[in-house]
């Protein structure tokens, strides 16, 4: 079915896809997700603790980010902000956009998970003399994390694929690498299928890691 030359192209292009995959796509995903989680935790906590003003800011932020396309946000940051004399390089632009996106979506995951921990756990913390933040840190958040773990991993897998949007703002990640090879060789079908398979492989590995993580968490409690 597949001609020899096409098979050769597919094999030869593997390093050209895998290298940007491993050196750009994966780090971009990890950094954005890590920063996004910190932002999400903060966003969830100010809402749960009903911190005045910050709570409204958090709701507003979640509303804006969830209500507009990620691609539009990327364009605003990379192509739009320079007209306000704010120039941000391609990779930092992508990290900002992805972090904001992860922060908004997973803050809702974390908020729901924290609220799902029974009120009695907080009361018990108070009764042994702990403060709100001590109880959150030691008791509530560890329990919430177990609940939040599968949906968080969902977001993580989603982000791995969403980083392909960064190709639109000149980040040379895995999908842009595929675009370039496809343009050079006139084999778009083969190349886009191939890059799709590599994303699938990445996500399959992540799913396995999720399974292991869930089993570890099950043992913990």
């Amino acid at each position: 079915m597949i001609s020899d030359s096409l098979a050769e192209l597919l094999i030869q292009s593997i390093p050209g896809l895998l290298i940007p995959g491993l050196t750009v796509t994966i780090p971009l995903t990890l950094v954005s997700f890590g920063l996004g989680l910190i932002l999400a935790l903060f966003t969830a906590l100010v809402q749960i603790a009903r911190v005045p003003v910050l709570r409204q800011v958090a709701r507003f932020y979640v509303w804006i980010i969830r209500g507009t396309p990620l691609l539009v946000q990327l364009y605003i940051i990379f192509y739009g902000l320079p007209s306000l004399n704010i120039k941000i390089d391609a990779i930092p632009s992508a990290i900002i956009a992805f972090t904001l996106s992860v922060g908004a979506y997973t803050s809702e995951t974390l908020r729901a998970a924290i609220l799902s921990v029974p009120q009695g756990q907080l009361e018990a913390g108070y009764c042994v003399g702990m403060t709100f933040s001590q109880t959150m840190r030691r008791i509530i958040i560890p329990q919430a994390f177990k609940t939040a773990f599968p949906p968080l991993f969902n977001s993580f897998i989603g982000l791995t694929k969403d980083t392909s949007l960064a190709a639109n703002v000149t980040v040379l990640e895995m999908f842009m690498a595929a675009q370039r090879i496809a343009a050079r060789t006139y084999e778009p079908f083969a190349l886009y299928c191939e890059v799709g398979v590599i994303y699938l492989l990445f996500c399959t590995v992540l799913s396995k890691i999720q399974d292991i993580g869930e089993r570890k968490l099950e043992h913990m409690q």
């Binding site: 009764c127 042994v128 003399g129 030691r138 008791i139």
Partner: protein
């Protein structure tokens, strides 16, 4: 030692506590009895600030607090000297039995880990859970969980321990092991305030029994006075209903 004056609490239009006053002396075992919805649990929760009272004062040791305008620091101070045992145990689900006991000592009181663990083991031994230090709550029976709950409450050597219906969530065959621990504490002179439906416990162990109904204290006195010589018709009716006319 602990004196509560005219505590009021409403949830919306529902007046749950209508000016309840109560005094606890060192070494007292005070049992609060009464029908469901009489405000017993709310009273206990207001005293430990798990609910904020609408008005009332508290005198604890030498300090007088306005229950409605109390600061976080004052609340924490009171909680450092009191223990609380919950109806549903509320053990920290992500912590072992030992960690449940040591958590408050280490995190809230800044005690060294080794010292806290020594106290933790001694306290668990005391409630008969020597072999269960490293068990998580879900690996323990209800009776064992509640005994960990008691160990957690007594570990910091509080001046008074509040029990909120400590046996109500337990299967009948597990109630006695928890009551036995409480009786032992009472014998050792621990000051306790117990909301309970266990009339024989109130009868045998308490030195003061309080009967509450509709958010007020209807009657209080020694077990002898309340159980056998109740002045109020409501108290007699309640006791007849709950003991089915049997002797305690």
């Amino acid at each position: 030692m602990l004196k509560i004056d005219h505590i009021h609490k409403a949830f919306g239009d529902n007046q749950v506590l209508k000016g309840v006053s109560l005094e606890v002396d060192k070494g007292d075992v005070v049992c609060i009895i009464g029908p469901s919805g009489s405000g017993k649990t709310t009273l206990l929760r207001c005293i430990n600030f798990l609910e904020s009272a609408d008005q009332g004062t508290m005198q604890f040791n030498d300090k007088t607090l306005d229950l409605h305008k109390v600061t976080k620091q004052e609340i924490r101070e009171v909680r450092f000297h009191t223990g609380f045992v919950f109806q549903n145990y509320n053990l920290f689900r992500n912590k072992t039995a030992l960690e449940n006991v040591t958590e408050g000592l280490i995190i809230a009181r800044g005690m060294a880990k080794e010292e806290a663990e020594k106290i933790g083991r001694e306290t668990l031994d005391k409630v008969g859970l020597s072999g269960r230090y490293d068990y998580y709550p879900k690996q323990l029976s209800g009776g064992q969980q509640q005994r960990v709950g008691i160990a957690r409450a007594i570990a910091a050597n509080p001046e008074v321990i509040f029990f909120d219906e400590p046996t109500s969530a337990l299967d009948p065959e597990l109630i006695d092991e928890v009551l036995a621990v409480m009786k032992q504490l009472a014998r050792e002179g621990t000051t306790m305030v117990v909301v309970t439906h266990e009339m024989s416990f109130a009868h045998d162990v308490a030195n003061k029994v309080i009967f509450m109904e509709h958010g007020s204290i209807v009657e209080q006195g020694t077990p002898e006075e309340v159980f056998y010589h109740a002045r109020e018709e409501h108290t007699k009716q309640f006791l007849r209903r709950i003991t089915h006319g049997q002797n305690l």
